[in-house]
Subunit: 382 residues, 4 copies
């Protein structure tokens, strides 16, 4: 075959390691291009675990030291799926090694780290992208398209929530295998960096810059056993986070996230209200976009539930999958992201979110946490 | 006051007696006209019960013999809310007495009785109407309007269901106070006359004549104690009824009703699929009409949920009630029917469903039950 | 009849004047008691208008000066349906005249006025109530019952929104007939007093005291023509209002209201997340309560849509209306309120929200507007 | 690796060829077993097309004659994805060649063919399965589990619909590339074999044998251009099909399918009403199961929307995918089927639907079409 190989070095093997690997395997069949993704190496400190992962997913080799991975000539792209506290060091080194980089979100522990990472990739001129995958759920991509076409008019409101309920049980430990998201040292923050980061990425993409924020955070369970130390320790992350704010376009922001909303597993919703139309979306029914269009005739005006599964070529990405009416799953957002990354390489027009795009989200997160700490309004740094 | 009195004589005091009385009391405030409804007399055999009812609802007098009621000169309209087996005798006599008649549905025990009733009111030239109230739920009236405007194009399918679950318990008796609907002698039939009659009235109104039917009925609980006799007796009504059929416009009919659909209390739904658009409605959320409009632009096409509560004058009846977004209840359909009956009197254009309209429903019911009995397709008499 | 008359003197004849009058007329049939409501007098400055209103609704007499109404011996209850800026003066005078008082919400222009009103009714020992009618939508009353039974456990979150879209058009004037809600001089505030006041009343009732708030307000259309002066004037009300806060029980508050949410007419929603269960409600489908109950068995756990229309005696108020599955409308909340007011008179246990209850809402509104002005967190006065 | 290879020979490359291939590629990562699926050969008459398909999906070789494919020793499993009229010949030959067989649905053109196929695979004792994939949508599998646990009690009703709208346009040709489903010679029947076959497979699986049926069919567009002949020809398939019937357990059947229901793309829904509980499902939101459980406490009884995405091990298949709340797509049903087929091989307990299971569906289809033709009730052959 005359396809150009795109040899991936994956660092990490958790939830995201699996989601990305599935995308790498699937992209060639559904979004054929001039590139062929090759699962070249998987890397993690635990040799037994990474061996098992590599076997299951078909990675050709393994490494137990990410620095060795970066040294290899047969790796084109580094995929960073480690806990957040390792993103910066690996990314900067990978950029210096001239590798393309796909980094899990959030980009970094804070915007200071993020800025270093941006500087590194821009200096090295390596293609880079952050896995804010929800941009590429077809219903969300369609929302972007409708907004860009000017169908909403002046925007008044943008609302987003990301509600979960998996940490209500006070006996759940912080830290350790699969639980680093509850450990402030590894994750940096709680729901703000883990969940609101997604909401913010989508919001800025759809609605532009966020200028000011006023935020509150709460930690409902103050102490949890730490699996790594075996001791009961103070919980350092935010369990819940609410913020208000104002976008540069004058619209008002209302964001909320929590892991204590009984009954919601991954309820990421957003709604945007414009003068001419409104849009709403819900991850729990990710294949639908809700739209209210004021230009519809009065007596038959109503919220439309658009089943974004039409392969007539009108719904983003969907012409590549099955037939109208048949939904795709959450995992497809990653396949779309890889497809677009490759399309960016081939067209010379990088596809976002780049590290620089993701830095903006990081700056908002910093402003939020600062606001919550100081209990006052804060202007987002630019 | 210079309003013309419309003096009502109500026969019966059950569920429908209450629903109609509420409408009579409410119509003047919300749909003012040149007439004033006066609750002149309430009539039933049980003097204590009808006295109590008359007091509670403000009827000026009572009667215990409906023939005496018909003799009274101070009664303009007779409202028949008795069990079905009394409709014909009362209606014919009322017509002969020159009274206007509002009769509960179904019109009669069968089409033979119905035809006599039609003959009587047409001979006597008295205004007449049957309480198929669902036509006047604003969302249903809006559906009629949209169909009449030609928005659906050629019709392919009409589907209706009326699902309940209140007779699953085999210990429920048939007959007696509040239970005459389970007694074949009083009701004539089961879900066909009680529930499908509503579906058929709406269907014929929206979609025209039904030509042929093929029907099946089932009685799940074969014997029940009869409250009037005190004995366990064979159940004579249909517990469930399904029929297929063909409308004169070539569209296919699929109807079903049951009182054994666990979880549904009064789930009357219909859906009509046309070449250009489809409509759907559900009594459980009676203030919404669902519409799919093929002329909407492709990528934003979807089912619209129209909240039929706008008082901008575009939604039927709703300009008379509250403000947009505020739902009215089931009971308002009766208020609308009285308002339209009066409007018919004042305009000289009778409003349906008249006895003649309701006779068509009766003919379809006869064809259905005949089809179920003979297990074959039957042509509806005209 | 041996019923005790409850002679109402209604001040005002707008949207609320109609809604209350309908309740007065309906309560006796559906919620019979030892009292009989009598529509004794309707009062407004415009004689022609109040005459027309009195005729349509059956008020026995009219007044054009509310002071004269208060002087009448044949008035037992005064119902204040004027713009907000008149509530205090009338209520204080009515209390001094020994009248029972039913006052439209919000209680007053601010908590200072509210406190005077509370002092007046408590000194005069007159029964008093404020028309926060949403407490008595059956689904909302059911929510209260479930919370009081302890089914939710520790509460983490309370969220409410009240979204409308009727003032997006910049050509809409402020002030004048039917538009006093846009005039700061008459209304006191915008969406905060008009809409969030409802949300707050429900929230405090369901979830207890709110301790601190941080609020932002926005006026999207800065100037509008004023119908009373004929000039383009600065708009003094808040078009949108968002606030965060903390309840005394430790749960987090997130509230938002606007009249610029295209597609929403009266979308009052609330959701409360507890350790053991969550509840959600939406005015657009007011007959449904959503519940997620963690004690349900794992594999069949899900959000339940409870159709609060069962007359088996288990759903608040519904045994008095129709049969299961048949929804009642928005207007019934007022009928329930009158029924409960009378029940309070007869039982000697006053039913809320009393003026004192409503004062708490006023204090929260004051804190919110103060917070928005000062751009900082504010503690609610007690 | 020590895994046992399962070498697939795929015949066909259309919609189903792609769906099955995706499953073969995905199964090893998500449902690891002792077998490894190997894409050994793809077969079709058009060499250029099958070459392209094989390249895109990674098949190791191609064939242009299915008989040659069956001769190959390196093929363990034959997957039949041809139009229906070829199923029998290929399947019988494949059985004789000792191949395992996975055959697309419907099994055959009629039950006579189906019986020959069953005889062939049972004589050859080769593992066999039919791609009625909807059984393995997790929400549908959960429904099966709940029914098998006896949670529904006596069943009264089973209703299913499969509604589409893609053939309303009368200019759509019959036959030719991608359109063989409209050609009676290739497909055997229209919506009955294509869509209702799915509904029947699920129904029989969930609710047992169907004894009698009464059916009607309709062809709305009587003539269409045939792409293969270039002429306008009579349309031989059924555009719509409705049938009533009775299951062996005494419950009533109501089934309907059409390709003329404007607004529905692939609306496969079923509902089953039992004495103790009801279940409902809808392919358009395939990750949800609706349940009404009568044993829930009265005042909080309601339809539960179960988001079947929990990886706590309680929802079928879902522990193998992502995390709770994240939906999988339509395609996963095929992956589950391959996983179960392999599990059947390894456990020695064949997983359905086998050819024999699928024959029952074929017998029902025959009875339906016979009933429609003769316009009478027909007993299903056994």
């Amino acid at each position: 075959m005359s396809k150009k190989p795109l040899r991936v070095g994956m660092i990490g093997y958790g939830f995201m390691g699996r989601a990305h690997s599935n995308a790498y395997k699937q992209v060639g069949q559904f979004f054929p291009s001039q590139h062929e993704v090759v699962l070249q190496a998987a890397c993690a400190r635990n040799e037994a675990e990474i061996r098992k992962f590599a076997d299951q997913w078909g990675y050709a080799s393994i490494e137990t030291d990410w620095k060795k991975l970066l040294d290899r000539k047969d790796i084109d792209v580094v995929d960073i799926c480690t806990p957040n506290n390792l993103h910066k060091e690996i990314a900067v080194a990978a950029a210096q090694a001239g590798k393309m980089i796909l980094c899990e979100k959030p980009l970094a522990m804070d915007s200071k780290q993020g800025a270093e990472m941006v500087a590194a990739v821009e200096k090295a001129k390596v293609p880079n992208m952050v896995w804010y995958n929800y941009r590429r759920i077809p219903a969300v991509t369609l929302a972007k398209k409708l907004i860009d076409e000017g169908r909403l008019g002046r925007i008044f409101h943008y609302r987003a929530k990301f509600l979960q309920d998996w940490t209500i049980n006070a006996d759940l430990p912080q830290g350790g295998q699969g639980l680093w998201r509850l450990d402030a040292a590894a994750a940096g923050s709680g729901v703000s960096g883990d969940l609101l980061a997604h909401c913010i990425d989508t919001a800025v993409w759809l609605n532009g810059r966020l200028d000011t924020v006023c935020c509150m955070t709460e930690t409902f369970v103050k102490e949890r056993k730490h699996n790594l130390t075996g001791k009961v320790e103070k919980v350092g992350i935010d369990d819940a986070c609410i913020f208000m704010g104002k976008f540069a376009n004058g619209s008002l922001a209302n964001f909320e996230s929590t892991r204590y909303a009984r009954g919601h597993k991954a309820l990421y919703t957003f709604e945007i209200n414009g003068e001419k139309a409104s849009l709403a979306w819900d991850l729990h029914d990710l294949h639908r976009l809700q739209m209210f269009d004021y230009k519809d005739e009065g007596k038959i005006r109503g919220w439309k539930s658009i089943h974004v599964t039409d392969n007539g070529g009108e719904h983003p990405y969907m012409d590549k999958w099955w037939v109208p009416g048949l939904a795709i799953g959450y995992d497809c957002s990653f396949t779309h992201q890889v497809a677009d990354f490759i399309q960016g390489l081939e067209s010379g027009t990088p596809q976002g979110p780049t590290f620089r795009d993701a830095l903006e989200t990081q700056q908002i997160l910093d402003a939020m946490l600062d606001s919550a700490k100081q209990q006052k309004w804060v202007t987002v740094a630019k």
